[in-house]
């Protein structure tokens, strides 16, 4: 009853317009946190070193000796099979700028690895376009070879003894190593200059493990993808990026205000992956690589894609199994 009486009074008030108090306009206090790449996180404890079954010692750089110059005729059954299928199927990356990436205008793949792969097709078919690229993620590379989805993998792939148990590698066609990318004018010259500073690397990579174990004690920040590191550097959320110089070159090429500094502090020899049991193909690929080293093709490809890393070094020397 009382409620109704109040309602009557309220109704009268509404009509008469008494007691109308508008709420005070007031800006909400907002806590602003600048966005970061999804999945970025400071690595608190270094990831434990994975302890798999012991890997027998080997020379990761040594491969099968070519029988002569790269000639298709009489090379062997594997090369003949590739020739018969009419094109070379190559597993490549589409996400590593300057090594294997997709040009956003043309949709075409380009980069150091792509050009090396084209040399293989040219040697086999006399036409560098007799090639089918299959884009793979790092984790798919070995399975794609084992399943026969691709003939070779040219994808910033480090030749090591663990992988050599599963697949074969060509001779080393690129010697990579971990270095540091910083903003121009930052005053940071090498890894030691990063003591106590935030350094970006890819979560789960060997590079971030190397950072966590470095004597200079930088603060490793992990992200899902390498380009995320460049975003963080550009947004001022890290002081440096550190990983293989090949990847750093690709990042530096996207931002003239960054530079790759300091010496290499790890060894990452890249080889072309080939399924086991295709020795004649390995020898053929090695013969092509030999020719590229000798006739200046390797240097030309280096200059085309990796100028950010400075003048081209001598191509890595081929080492063969005795």
């Amino acid at each position: 009853m009382r409620g109704r009486i109040i309602a009557v009074v309220a109704a009268v008030c509404v009509v008469a317009g008494c007691g109308s108090s508008a709420p005070e306009p007031r800006a909400e206090r907002v806590e602003f946190t600048a966005p970061q790449p999804v999945g970025a996180s400071v690595l608190d404890t270094p990831a434990p070193t994975t302890t798999g079954p012991p890997v027998p010692a080997c020379d990761p750089a040594a491969s099968l000796r070519p029988t002569g110059p790269p000639v298709v005729a009489g090379a062997g059954p594997s090369v003949a099979a590739v020739v018969a299928q009419g094109r070379l199927r190559v597993g490549v990356d589409q996400n590593s700028y300057r090594f294997g990436y997709r040009d956003s205008f043309t949709g075409e793949l380009g980069g150091f690895d792509i050009d090396v792969a084209r040399q293989m097709a040219a040697a086999m078919f006399g036409d560098q376009n007799m090639i089918q690229f299959v884009t793979l993620t790092s984790g798919q590379r070995i399975d794609a070879l084992k399943n026969g989805d691709v003939d070779i993998v040219v994808q910033t792939m480090t030749s090591n003894c663990a992988r050599k148990q599963e697949i074969d590698f060509s001779t080393i066609y690129y010697q990579a190593g971990q270095r540091v990318l910083v903003n121009v004018g930052s005053g940071i010259r090498d890894l030691d200059g990063l003591a106590g500073r935030r350094v970006c690397s890819s979560t789960g990579s060997t590079s971030i493990k190397n950072l966590a174990e470095a004597a200079a004690k930088p603060i490793p920040v992990g992200v899902p993808s390498w380009t995320d590191c460049l975003v963080m550097l550009q947004q001022g959320q890290v002081d440096a990026v550190s990983t293989d110089d090949t990847i750093l070159a690709g990042l530096a090429a996207q931002d003239p205000n960054t530079e790759v500094v300091g010496p290499r502090f790890s060894d990452e020899p890249y080889g072309i992956g080939i399924a086991k049991g295709r020795d004649d193909l390995v020898r053929f690929v090695n013969a092509v690589l030999d020719r590229m080293r000798a006739d200046g093709t390797w240097t030309a490809i280096y200059q085309r894609w990796l100028a950010e890393l400075g003048p081209p070094p001598a191509p890595p020397a081929a080492r063969y199994l005795s």
Binding site: M1, R4, A7, V8, A11, P23, P25, A27, E28, V30, F32, A34, P35, Q36, P37, V38, G91, D93, Q94, N95, Y97, Y101, R102, D103, S104, F105, T106, G107, F133, V134, T135, L136, T137, D149, P224, S225, T227, D228, L230, V231, Q234, G250, L251, Q254, D255
Partner: protein, 427 residues
């Protein structure tokens, strides 16, 4: 009854004229109370209906608009990215229209911020991060135009901001506004217990009074009291009819309107999210497993036997809307087939073919657009239905307050005049 004055009043009340006087006072008071209570109740109902049309529903629509246009912006920005360096004008325009729409709907929804703390927080969060989001998208776009892969990383960051901050805030705003809409609907449809009780008491007293007057004065009919009884009866009838009519209309507005809109809008936003996942998976080139996983979750929520579309179809009564929802289900099926083909191509390394299927004229893009359009049309129809039903409810209440007040005047006057006629005879 101790004081002499009270005893005098009590003694006077025992005489017939005295009793008539008491009866007059009681009848007038009851008729007045009943009439005014009814008028206030009807006014409250009418105000609630007015709020539905002028405030709650527009705010719910604005909140839904913010949510939808942000989801659409996320999906459209990713689609534009897949087109290569220079995005097609149509996609660019769609993205810009989404951002403009989100901004203006946000300004409209800000009206709700003053009344609800929760809505206020969501609006503040949205207004803070929307410009940051557009900044990231433009950075992504500039890099993409220069052919730099870091553009995709900026787009991924933008999308992360959208999904982690903006969309949750938009969802919260939407939920708080739809909650408020439901509360306003309830406010328009209370059961008029007090009015009915007062009405029955007033009518009962009028009947008793007429019996008493007839016994004491030997007059069969008392015109005044009869008129008062009829007027009060009409008021009670009016209140009951209005309550029933408004309840039926608002119930329809809720079932076929707002609740349905909510269901359909949720489905539409899920479709937009899934489209964003599909295109972003391709934008990030090979490392999009988390987007694909989210796509599978969202599309399972959308389609499937217990999915949003199936639920919507089963609860929809309007045949036109049902047809649209059934179309949407078929289109979702087509999209799903196209999506699987896209994944197959991309996973087997045929990236360019996958992109063509995702954004070309055949494949996922037309199926998705058709699905989205069907749902948008269904939402428009349901919104119209809501407006119609609330309009009908409002017209059921037209003139009711004035009518009830006039009848109350008649009831009060009749009661007073009727008793006065008898009382006069004792002078």
């Amino acid at each position: 009854m101790t004081s002499p004055r009270m005893r005098m009043v009590a003694a006077a009340a025992r005489t017939t004229p005295g009793r008539l006087g008491v009866i007059a006072v009681v009848l007038v008071a009851l008729a007045l109370l009943f009439g005014l209570t009814s008028a206030v109740g009807l006014q409250a109902r009418s105000d609630a209906l007015g709020d539905l049309v002028t405030s709650s529903e527009p705010l719910a629509v604005a909140a839904q608009d913010v949510y939808r246009s942000l989801s659409d912006a996320d999906a459209t920005a990713a689609s534009a990215f897949l087109e290569g360096g220079v995005e097609p004008a149509a996609l660019r325009e769609r993205y810009q229209a989404d951002i403009a729409q989100a901004g203006s709907a946000l300004a409209a929804a800000a009206g709700a911020a003053s009344t609800s703390e929760e809505a206020g927080r969501s609006v503040a969060e949205l207004s803070t991060y929307l410009p940051v989001y557009t900044g990231l998208v433009e950075t992504a776009r500039v890099n993409n135009r220069a052919g730099l892969p870091v553009g995709a990383a900026y787009l991924r960051e933008a999308s992360g901001l959208m999904r982690d901050r903006l969309l949750p805030a938009a969802r919260q705003l939407y939920e708080s506004e739809t909650g408020r809409l439901a509360a306003t609907e309830d406010r328009a449809t209370p059961v008029p217990f007090v009015e009915v009780l007062l009405g029955l008491v007033a009518l009962g007293c009028l009947v008793v009074a007429q019996v008493f007057v007839r016994r004491r004065t030997n007059r069969v009919l008392n015109v005044g009291l009869l008129a008062a009884t009829a007027a009060s009866g009409l008021v009670l009838l009016w209140v009951l009819v209005a309550a029933v009519a408004v309840s039926v209309n608002v119930g329809q507005a809720r079932e076929r309107g707002s609740a349905q809109v909510q269901q359909l809008a949720t489905a539409r936003i899920a479709a937009l999210e899934a489209r964003g996942d599909e295109t972003l998976t391709l934008v990030v080139r090979g490392s999009g497993q988390s987007y694909e996983q989210h796509y599978q979750e969202v599309s399972a929520r959308l389609g499937g036997d217990a999915g949003l579309l199936r639920q919507a179809r089963d609860s929809v009564e309007d045949p036109a809307v049902r047809t649209l929802v059934e179309q949407a289900m078929a289109q979702q099926g087509q999209w799903q087939v196209a999506h699987e083909e896209i994944r197959k191509r991309d996973d087997s390394g045929s990236y360019n073919e996958a992109v063509d299927l995702a954004i070309g004229d055949t494949g996922a893009a037309p199926a998705f657009s058709a699905l989205e359009k069907s749902l948008a049309d269904a939402i428009a129809l349901s919104t119209q239905r809501f407006d119609d039903e609330v309009g009908a409810a409002r017209s059921a209440l037209a003139w009711s307050v004035v009518g009830v007040l006039l009848l109350t005047v008649l009831a009060v006057g009749g009661a007073a005049w009727g008793v006065w006629q008898r009382l006069k005879e004792y002078r």
